[in-house]
């Protein structure tokens, strides 16, 4: 009995300190992923500062369309957090609806980004060249940064779909919803990173 009581004390103590392995591991992954983006953005800044022929982004990129895309991603973050809130209140229909809305937001973001890429490529901008006679790294940094982020969005939509299927099977309840919280952390991180990419790549002239 004394041994069991000790173990309970240890478990209680650990529960106060740790957020659970799934959530903690997602945070660890997000921290390392944040460093990946920090490296890319630092490289972008260094290349841009060292260039005498860097174009004004707004003159080559579609800022209003991308602002709309940013807004869509922000909206999908709200629906994601509402999905978690719904299941915490035992609302399974709400969970499914908000998860579907979040996936739709992510898919729309990807669609608009694909349209933008197609338009730029048709104009002649590639990862190694552009038709405007400006620094060729303009295209390289643009496609690598937005492409790397786009891969995260695509992964997020697939991840959300897996959670949606499990939710439709009734896997999540008021007491058991950590998987929804963890996919939410990932999705909000993707939104957070885009806020920075949008500012540095599109807005700063």
């Amino acid at each position: 009995m004394a041994h069991a009581a000790t173990m309970n004390d240890v478990e209680r103590y650990e529960n106060q300190l740790t957020p659970g392995w799934g959530k903690l591991m997602m945070w660890v992954f997000l921290c390392s992923d944040a460093m990946s983006f920090a490296g890319l953005l630092a490289a972008y800044g260094a290349v841009r500062l060292g260039s005498s022929d860097w174009p004004v982004p707004a003159s080559k990129l579609d800022v209003p369309l991308t602002a709309l895309n940013t807004f869509i991603l922000i909206c999908s973050s709200v629906t994601m957090v509402k999905a978690l809130s719904a299941i915490k209140h035992g609302d399974r229909k709400g969970l499914l609806g908000y998860l579907a809305a979040t996936m739709a937001g992510g898919a729309t973001f990807l669609g608009i980004q694909a349209y933008e890429w197609t338009h730029l490529i048709h104009e002649g901008m590639t990862i190694s060249s552009n038709p405007w006679g400006v620094n060729t790294l303009f295209g390289a940094t643009f496609f690598i940064l937005t492409g790397f982020h786009g891969c995260h969005v695509l992964s997020g939509v697939i991840y959300l779909f897996c959670i949606f299927v499990r939710a439709a099977q009734g896997a999540y309840t008021v007491e058991n919803n950590s998987a929804v919280e963890i996919v939410g952390l990932y999705w909000h991180f993707v939104d957070l990173i885009w806020i920075l990419v949008f500012t540095f790549v599109y807005l700063i002239a």
Binding site: A38, L49, V63, A67, F71, S77, H188, L192, T199
Partner: protein, 100 residues
């Protein structure tokens, strides 16, 4: 799973959404300002960081997590800062080279 999360009332997520939308509009307006380049760049960076902080604090619930987890999560910010400071000499050299 919520062992580290402090007990708290649910934030008003729609207010956070509204704040993010308003900050995005302000960003677009600031980006159109002609001249005062340093002011524009500083303002855009500050607005982007404010938006990122709102997402992390309220949507990722970082504001309601225990102090230890917040410290762990914020560590990449410090490391990123060191990364950027490390690049400053290189960037300054480039700028100096371009100006001559």
């Amino acid at each position: 799973m919520t062992g580290t999360t402090k007990d708290h009332a649910e934030p008003n997520y729609w207010m956070v959404w509204l704040a993010l939308a308003i900050l995005t509009v302000i960003e677009l307006l600031v980006a159109r300002v002609q001249g005062a380049r340093a002011f524009v760049i500083f303002s855009l960076c500050a607005l982007a960081l404010a938006k990122a902080a709102l997402v992390a604090a309220y949507f990722m619930h970082l504001k309601f997590e225990k102090y230890a987890l917040i410290l762990v999560v914020l560590s990449p910010l410090v490391l990123s800062g060191i990364l950027y400071v490390g690049l400053v000499p290189d960037a300054i050299t480039h700028i100096h080279w371009l100006m001559h």
